[in-house]
Symmetry: D3
Subunit: 294 residues, 6 copies
Amino acid sequence: MHGRIQSPAAVLSELPADLPEQVARALREDIGSGDVTAELIAATAQTQARVLCRQPAVLCGAPWFDASFHQLDPGLRIEWKFADSDRVPAGSILCEITGAARPILTAERTALNFLQLLSATATVTRRYADALAGSGCQILDTRKTIPGLRSAQKYAVRCGGGANHRLGLYDMVLIKDNHIAAAGSIAAAIHAARSRSAVLPIEVEVENLEQLRQALSAGADHVLLDNFELDTLRAAVAFNRAQPRPAMLEASGGVTLERVGAIAATGVDHISSGALTKDILAIDLSMRFGTPAS
Amino acid sequence: MHGRIQSPAAVLSELPADLPEQVARALREDIGSGDVTAELIAATAQTQARVLCRQPAVLCGAPWFDASFHQLDPGLRIEWKFADSDRVPAGSILCEITGAARPILTAERTALNFLQLLSATATVTRRYADALAGSGCQILDTRKTIPGLRSAQKYAVRCGGGANHRLGLYDMVLIKDNHIAAAGSIAAAIHAARSRSAVLPIEVEVENLEQLRQALSAGADHVLLDNFELDTLRAAVAFNRAQPRPAMLEASGGVTLERVGAIAATGVDHISSGALTKDILAIDLSMRFGTPAS
Amino acid sequence: MHGRIQSPAAVLSELPADLPEQVARALREDIGSGDVTAELIAATAQTQARVLCRQPAVLCGAPWFDASFHQLDPGLRIEWKFADSDRVPAGSILCEITGAARPILTAERTALNFLQLLSATATVTRRYADALAGSGCQILDTRKTIPGLRSAQKYAVRCGGGANHRLGLYDMVLIKDNHIAAAGSIAAAIHAARSRSAVLPIEVEVENLEQLRQALSAGADHVLLDNFELDTLRAAVAFNRAQPRPAMLEASGGVTLERVGAIAATGVDHISSGALTKDILAIDLSMRFGTPAS
Amino acid sequence: MHGRIQSPAAVLSELPADLPEQVARALREDIGSGDVTAELIAATAQTQARVLCRQPAVLCGAPWFDASFHQLDPGLRIEWKFADSDRVPAGSILCEITGAARPILTAERTALNFLQLLSATATVTRRYADALAGSGCQILDTRKTIPGLRSAQKYAVRCGGGANHRLGLYDMVLIKDNHIAAAGSIAAAIHAARSRSAVLPIEVEVENLEQLRQALSAGADHVLLDNFELDTLRAAVAFNRAQPRPAMLEASGGVTLERVGAIAATGVDHISSGALTKDILAIDLSMRFGTPAS
Amino acid sequence: MHGRIQSPAAVLSELPADLPEQVARALREDIGSGDVTAELIAATAQTQARVLCRQPAVLCGAPWFDASFHQLDPGLRIEWKFADSDRVPAGSILCEITGAARPILTAERTALNFLQLLSATATVTRRYADALAGSGCQILDTRKTIPGLRSAQKYAVRCGGGANHRLGLYDMVLIKDNHIAAAGSIAAAIHAARSRSAVLPIEVEVENLEQLRQALSAGADHVLLDNFELDTLRAAVAFNRAQPRPAMLEASGGVTLERVGAIAATGVDHISSGALTKDILAIDLSMRFGTPAS
Amino acid sequence: MHGRIQSPAAVLSELPADLPEQVARALREDIGSGDVTAELIAATAQTQARVLCRQPAVLCGAPWFDASFHQLDPGLRIEWKFADSDRVPAGSILCEITGAARPILTAERTALNFLQLLSATATVTRRYADALAGSGCQILDTRKTIPGLRSAQKYAVRCGGGANHRLGLYDMVLIKDNHIAAAGSIAAAIHAARSRSAVLPIEVEVENLEQLRQALSAGADHVLLDNFELDTLRAAVAFNRAQPRPAMLEASGGVTLERVGAIAATGVDHISSGALTKDILAIDLSMRFGTPAS
């Protein structure tokens, strides 16, 4: 636990380039032609607010939260008690905001909407990551994300201890049955894909061990074993390990917190689940106002 | 149940003006520098796909789904079996898409991401609306929404039988304790707000019956009764009805499917819940590919 | 009269969220590929400029004026002698700008274009508001605005002592004859509209007292009496006041400075006029350059 | 008078590249999260509407009007009875719109706002152009324009028979007293400017005949004679004509419809007036609905 | 050689999502407030134009060329004689455009600017690819690209027979000396990077064989051998092949058409060169106008 | 040679208004969802970097370079040893950057991409300008530019001692054979063009001396002599000088560094060449990292 002043610039390098735009868009949709209640507050009024987290959570979204306030008023001071990725006990004060009352009240909802959403994803990912601790298997996200916020959610998955699958259609080849049918064979599909980019990883989604065999012999970097039984997963792992150049194996389908440990025990490298990003149970946050410290 | 070809233009009037931008943004974040797997499919290949809904749901998001495909290829043909707001049984085919295979495969995930998200909100709203059926009380949404998609989620709430609370900070005055403290009294706050707009509705959030009395005598249009016990809600309703110009009463706090009927039975006009839009349990959809009908 | 340094951030809460974009767009259309005359001025030259108002006016647009300069050079210092909404005598110095000469010269025209436009709207609105002083009746704007600047003009109307009618098609239901014909009756139209939003005010435009009766009995919040004779307005007011839940009555049509007092005397609550925002007589401003104070 | 179907594409070449964006922005600010009254009209309803012009005017803005409807629904059919630049008698029907009722009602106000604004500028410009007919002198606009709509207003000036002064700070050098002081002399300022662009016209604003002499001998392309008396204007014209390479002379200051003929009679080439674009008296238009022709 | 009508939609899947925006931006910067020469051509005039390629080249940019015309006028008909990636002899007609004369003249320069730029990159890449033919070694691009056009240039490299290196800072880890110093060792840097994404390839830039050894033993997917002598490259290849899991080896530095074959002969998998995209020798194209075919 | 701290604001007046957008776009395309290697560097690490120029060059692009860093982190300190337009010897240090290591590493490539591109254009332009020194003839650019960067390249041409031809289709009339054919004659085309704008320069492209004669008698401001032999150019110059109001003569076609002196010696005013902006030989720059000065 540590106090710090979050500077948006200082963290921008490793954050999505569209973070400022995501925040600006959210502020615009909430403020519209002007906050009609803000005028009830004197322009010179100062205030202090604290964000309370009412449930155990993994914090995520501080840079979005900060930007929500700083895009309105760069002079607001935000002091964090926790950092993104930290586990936060129920009842914790996450941060304190001090400064002009109007922009704090105006940005409050937008800032909390980001924080409760991204912390939700980090928190649920953390549960899966904890269930896999020690197994050598990683939990991965998917492209089943909230439209317009994929880069933010991918960041949240990392904060929760997960790792990212491909960002979109552009940074990895994922060959499915449609593509195999079109190319004629798994080998033909992999060969066609390899010529496009020297560095794009190639994954093949397979339905059985015979397809796995074809994918491996054609040089797939990753193989997605979709809806395989545990026994078949074990056989796939064994077969893969016997290859001169084994691929990374990813299991998907029927992934729940209860089953994830058993899936990992088969020896697969990755388990992916759409639930990390398509389902949201917003973390319960609230903002409490007080008198500014002097 | 009815077949139709959805034309984006035909429904645009009552839809959010930023719908096309929401869809374009989602496509951009997924396609990036190009769908690296699309080239495995012949440019001239045609296909047919069906969207299957694997659980009972209220459909919502067809215009976003359609736009996802039509922004890539206006020539794709989409025939819907259900319309937004329809209750859909588990196992239903929602629509059929026919046309060029590449754009169908490229837009698939984006289109489904919108549909599973917005149908989730419509479906959960429908459950609350059903629980209130016959009570004369409406379920309302809040500003606790997914950043960047508020207008879409507000539409989904309407599809689910709910009604919309304010859109943002600009279209309604909602006076909270900060504003009351700043203005000096509830009456002073209402008076100051009234002069800004002739048509803006004014709501006051109150904590007890005395504050309700002040809000009513100052002419509030709506009063938000936050975290009131059922007995106190009943007293508030009775007091309000005895006024020459009663306000609309809204209850919030501790709203669950189990409790919502009892809250409505107190006689309040509206019940609002952040859960409609901040929590998401994506509807389980999948796309099945076949041979195009000729 | 008071001196102050305008900080864009400090006033943003109650201002349109698109203010920065309105200013950026105006600067871009004026500067284009670069101010070709600016290079004649040394990059290090400092200057001081004063804005002179050559006619009596109500000031409006200071935040837009400030942003025009500060988007080019945040280091420019602007000291205002008047604030938005202030009545300004002819010949007044409105503000002084001190700093680098190039950005001051480059932004001058854009800044003045905003100020002369918005002050024009505030000034004409003030005349109507003065004519209504003491009547209890408010002057309202309409949707007849300059494309792209509605939120700015709505703000100017408030600065002139008027109040805002609806912002757009999204924040109020205004039922006209087309809608009544489509719905079958005024009552049916109001009922259909009410279910969409719990808080959207509903107004009906009526042509005669019988339609007023129908609108009131169906629970309209506002009624627009378009082109009513003064006698009929008086009858409408009397009828409305006799209702258990009277609506707000708005008169429109044939509104001039000469007639507005007589219309208000009928007892209507609001008078709306498109002329506030669709006609512009730019306030006569000029910038005078001098030596910077040291 | 002629009937035609306006196609946005067919006229785009000579129209501002930001026309589509100007229209999209205006539609967005009016429609926001959706036209709440549109749902009262059946999605399948068709209608026909006519635009009536209640005063004599010069038509301007048809491409903006058309785009307002076609961005919502490309299927709407618009038949014009007049073309931009045409003189229109009071009481004329300008065009007929046929198609789906919802998009017609939704875009109505935006389309009319453009048409009444741009026709206002064309109409007032036409009055000045008529007053100059036969004089060989042209009426010019200035940079005193409505922020965000300069290119549209410059087009309107051309439709009214005026000619355009510079578009912005980037396409012409206009040397004023600040620049002369900075450069040391008129000649030095012109010389410095000439090196930037081979084709940029150079204009010098002068206050007396001696400055005119300096500007001419330094090779100015245009000279702006600001607030000159008529006698001095005549002397300036005579002096200029006696030069080997006369410049174009522009008079400004105190330009009214009453005086403009006398100013032209001095022999100046151009007269510029900010009033063409900074003052707006919207043309009185209305839309009448009927049954669609079949 | 084959005739076809290029439809933007049909190829969009595998093209950059920002293609339409790249084209719109280019048209806007060229057209500005309107093509002032277009009005000299009758609005109804039709024309036909052919694009002539005056030097041997590899065609690239047809979708950008098409979009330049179709964004102005979707009705223009463009018939291609060659497709992207085709080798084109000097003196070839690339395509014919038929339709309205104004939009063809207005878009001509923008369309050619894209075509001459992207064909230049494809053509130079082709030379390198040809020099590597049969070697099993691929030529790769870098991040040394024209700002704003990276995705287009990456596409051009593929059309020329090259393969793409990483798209940007987000889709591959490239560990350089700064990162090694910060992490403490190559192994520590690779380990830290691996946890972020399960699918991101990891490359290490090394300066000598000892660093190569460290990179390989830490599991690097790719190793960049910067400015290695040919002998050292051969030693690196031999060492790598002796590993249980060899990495892909990339050579860079001092890459010229003359030396590229010798570098490939060392056995490296990839050779990268910034010259493919940072240097441009525009292909010599011109448009010839004729009478439209009837 | 001089040290200075570049402030983006201080130079913005005469720079393109879209400079910040050009830089933001370039950063976004490189950073995407986040710089995956940045996290290997401690968030608190500081560094110092120097930009080395490995070949003789004319510096251009410092404001773009600065903005690339300052948009990520306004706190970075950049000290320049040279200014735009300066001739820089091979081996020079151009500037030093001091501050947080992460944003410096993240922005490095984008900043260098701008600098190497724009300095390339300035450098090649300088060679032409030097070849014309003392001749009174200026080298001009064309519209053959890199899409999206025209304003930046036009600035680079000025830095290299060239002058700008028209910016786009909107700021000058350039009458070519298509327009002459459509208008009926050169005189008719010039007359039609003159009425649009009072200040737009008019140029006519001619193919022979007879057309030159027509253009001059019709009052063309500039005449473009395309692909004229040297003798014919001399005849054209003589004929033009004999006119009462000579035009500016521009030669184009076959312009090389070898021939440009001879073309200038014919007495033409301007020589234009597409090669200045359509061909790019990026200047060889690199960034060297060190320990920050304390």
